[in-house]
Symmetry: C2
Subunit: 217 residues, 2 copies
Amino acid sequence: MKIAILGGTGDIGEGLALRLAQKHQVIIGSRDEEKSREAAKNYNERLVSRGLKDEILGMSNQDAAKDAEAVILAVKYQYAIQTLQSVIDVLDNQVLISPIVPMSKTKLCAYTPPETGSASKQICSVLSPDIKLVSTFHTLPAARLSDLDDPLGFDVIVCADDEDAKKVVMGLVEDLGDVRALDGGGIEESRLIEALTPLLVNLAIRNKLKNLSIKFV
Amino acid sequence: MKIAILGGTGDIGEGLALRLAQKHQVIIGSRDEEKSREAAKNYNERLVSRGLKDEILGMSNQDAAKDAEAVILAVKYQYAIQTLQSVIDVLDNQVLISPIVPMSKTKLCAYTPPETGSASKQICSVLSPDIKLVSTFHTLPAARLSDLDDPLGFDVIVCADDEDAKKVVMGLVEDLGDVRALDGGGIEESRLIEALTPLLVNLAIRNKLKNLSIKFV
């Protein structure tokens, strides 16, 4: 599958690119095309050093999104809508994946959803109906995802209104490694899943733990 | 430690009584004193059959709460405030533990907090300041807790404004078996923890799983 990772030079983008590239064609996008080419080169070198294929491409966000079958919006909440609007003209029937969590951080984190109720609902409000939104990847710890020696071993919840798109993305989740994809319902439920990220961050801080994720046991 | 479990004849009360009785003096309470004595007899028989001490007592909710150092409000949300009010005259400096989750269920569950923001905040509003409220046990699957052969193996988040009371209850959580207690912050955070219960129920229904709990990995 051809997967574009917008903001693919960022921390969560890095781990997604390195892991998904082992089974898919990955194109990382950035506002700065030069930056995405450099990142792709760096990721490919890391893959080659492990005897893996070095086929990650770097492009502008718009070029990355154009021909992809799935587009991951791996940017911070505050850039989500503008990044989406910068590619919206080239989106055509893709699955759009949002790992986006609106949260504030001072000493601890707080979930700060927009008026629509969640980042995913807000994203839905600017999408045309042919683009299927899937909300997932929120609880992936970036540092562990980027460490290809980390077996992961956690669960990832996937929410979508379109059942076919949800199924496709649940497959992508399980392509990351030892990760179980769980059906979390529709986009309406995304609020509950997005709120898990600040919970994880705060639990880590309060209990002196690191890079927490979730497993349902 | 002397622990009263109000509503100790119910499903979560049963598991808490059977497990905590192995290290503490447990008194189960009920509106119906006869019912709590019968339940205590039944629980004691199950403990004896495993070669354990049979010292669980059954009393009215009020008698159970009177001399206890910790009082667990193990009743459904709709009975929480009235049960609390029925014992409030005998509460004096105890730690009060709330595992209460306000939720509605049709086919799936929804978290339905009161106007105060959470069950724990609502309970706080009727307590005198000498009673320290601790919010925990929400994600314990009752069936697994009652099965003394189940090793459990999950995490339980504990929220309280009083740090000493929180520490005491984190100790009780770890007395349940292979369970790790995690500091979840103050009562203000209880909303996030209470909301995990309907999430677990819905994940179980949607993914054909059973008796889910959480582990942070």
